[in-house]
């Protein structure tokens, strides 16, 4: 009886102390962590959209938030949104920038990826990402992913990374899929208003 009482007391004390320390520490670090996240987000948006002065957030659904880039004259220069999907490994998250009429991409940025280092993770390289600037989306986008050579029409094709065809295709696939979803949601939202 005595030992079990002691057990309860000791564990309670330790757990309470631990909780106290953690809540204190969280208070110090939480704002900083939030700031870091925001910084990353801002940087990603600025990378994928053409020059803008500030952006607005528009929540399209639980998961998707549209970042609308605007100039000082309230002119919309493009939309940016996060696109999630699976690459060669799971959990590939992109930031996709697109013209307000959803006709062509304005740029992409890789937010999170666990692709193979040295192969698939080269999707982060500027050289690969810049191919997506100006890529035509249209209603039924038809983007060719070719190996070992430049695509014939740079607005309709992507050169796959050598040794990482699957990762390259995955990026294209995620973009096509997510753009369609976002476009539908956006149109619904606009029509609804």
């Amino acid at each position: 009886m005595k030992t079990s009482a002691k057990m309860i007391i000791v564990l309670t004390v330790i757990a309470t102390l631990s909780g106290g320390i953690l809540s204190f520490w969280n208070g110090i670090t939480a704002p900083k962590i939030k700031e870091n996240r925001l910084k990353v987000l801002k940087k990603a948006i600025s990378t994928v959209l053409p020059k803008y002065d500030n952006y607005e957030e528009l929540k399209l659904s639980e998961e998707i938030t549209l970042y609308i880039g605007k100039t000082l004259k309230e002119e919309t220069v493009g939309f940016a949104f996060k696109a999630k999907g699976n690459g060669f490994s799971p959990d590939l998250t992109l930031m996709v920038g697109i013209l307000p009429d959803f006709s062509a991409l304005t740029g992409i940025e890789i937010l999170e990826q666990t692709e193979t280092p040295g192969l698939g993770n080269k999707i982060e390289d500027d050289e690969f990402r810049e191919q997506f600037v100006g890529l035509l989306m249209g209603i039924e986008p038809n983007i060719a992913v070719v190996k070992n050579r430049k695509p014939k029409n740079p607005q309709k094709g992507i050169q796959a990374l050598s040794g990482a065809t699957i990762s390259s295709k995955a990026v294209v696939f995620i973009i096509i899929e997510q753009v369609k979803i976002v476009q539908n949601l956006y149109n619904q939202k606009m029509a609804g208003i």
Partner: protein
């Protein structure tokens, strides 16, 4: 000390130890040995060097198709394999084992699996890995679980995945003029997997295609492999079951869905021929029981087709054999032949 006592306890009478001679007055002493007093003329070096001879047609043809770079590649691998072998012998304080020929085979086979444009320094890394890690760390000849050449190749594949899948066309290639930059080409398997193009079976048979040094020409491998089978230095069951399974399984898949390549294409493409005749039949890493050999070949065949058709890689010979290597001890264990008279009456 304990160890030594045990050793002496069960020591076999040395076959020919001069110290065991017992002297009889009028003539040289007779030698005592335990029966049998006869031996075949086969020996490990003889087997190994025969394998090397069997590889020569493929070597000659690859030099014909790819020119001097092929020769440099093969000599680099063979020499570095030899040096690595010497180094390990020295470190382990054992006799030099170059004459048994196993290191040369490893070097040569590894070179055969590399694309002709592969850099020589990288090839050396692979060869050293094959000999040091693939063979000697496991205990040297006879103790390695995996085929050292394939292990070396697997290491290179993991290290330099791009370089090792960049092929040049044979210099005599009829399509050469169509290639814009003339540097890279795809293997028939790669073309099929990623572009959906088939290649000419005739060219594949003679080796007039892109690919690694030893995997292009089916005919040269068949000649050398056939020689090995006739000499009985390779278990015929393994190539037969391996190629047979690939053909059958490939045919079934082709029949189910004609978008898959036809079985002949499977047989002639990639390193299958080289793998079936020279790698899968590696004595050290393949089962010793006849039934085991069938299982080994069939397993490798199924793995190969699965990797080729459903995997991320265009080619699956290397992994199919390595995976079967890994289960070889298990196969040996469960395929023990029935003893003579076991279960009768």
């Amino acid at each position: 000390m304990e160890e030594k006592v045990i050793k002496n306890d069960v020591k076999v009478k040395p076959k020919k130890n001069p110290k065991d001679k017992l002297f009889k007055l009028d003539r040289q002493p007779l030698i005592i040995s335990s029966s049998p007093h006869l031996n075949t003329t086969d020996s490990v070096p003889k087997i190994m060097w025969t394998v090397i001879i069997a590889l020569l047609p493929a070597v000659v043809l690859s030099i014909y198709y790819f020119g001097l770079p092929a020769l440099w590649m093969m000599s680099t691998c063979v020499i570095s394999a030899g040096l690595a072998e010497c180094l390990m012998n020295k470190l382990k304080g054992e006799e030099f084992t170059i004459p048994d020929g196993s290191a040369v085979i490893t070097g040569l086979l590894l070179a055969m699996t590399l694309p002709p444009s592969f850099t020589l320094t990288s090839a050396i890394i692979g060869t050293v890995f094959a000999i040091v890690i693939g063979k000697h760390i496991f205990g040297g000849l006879g103790f390695n679980i995996f085929n050292p050449a394939l292990l070396g190749r697997a290491f290179l594949q993991a290290c330099f995945p791009v370089a090792i899948t960049t092929w040049t066309f044979p210099k005599t290639d009829v399509y050469l003029s169509k290639i814009v930059d003339g540097v890279t080409a795809a293997t028939p398997l790669g073309l099929f997997k990623f572009e959906g193009e088939t290649s000419d079976l005739f060219n594949m048979f003679w080796g007039n295609i892109g690919g690694s040094l030893g995997e292009t020409s089916a005919i040269s491998i068949i000649i050398g492999g056939g020689f090995l089978l006739i000499k009985k230095y390779a278990d015929w069951r393994i190539p037969v079951s391996y190629l047979g399974t690939v053909f059958l399984f490939g045919a079934i898949m082709w029949w189910i869905n004609p978008k898959y390549p036809d079985p002949t294409f499977h047989l002639l493409s990639g390193g299958l021929m080289l793998g079936a005749f020279f790698m899968a039949t590696d004595m050290v890493t393949s089962p010793i029981t006849p039934k085991g050999a069938w299982i080994f070949g069939i397993g490798a065949g199924i793995l190969l087709v699965v990797i080729r058709l459903f995997g991320g890689l265009p080619e699956g010979v290397m992994y199919s054999i390595l995976l079967m290597n890994a289960v070889t001890p298990l196969i040996n264990r469960y395929t023990r032949p029935k003893f003579f008279g076991e279960g009768s009456k």
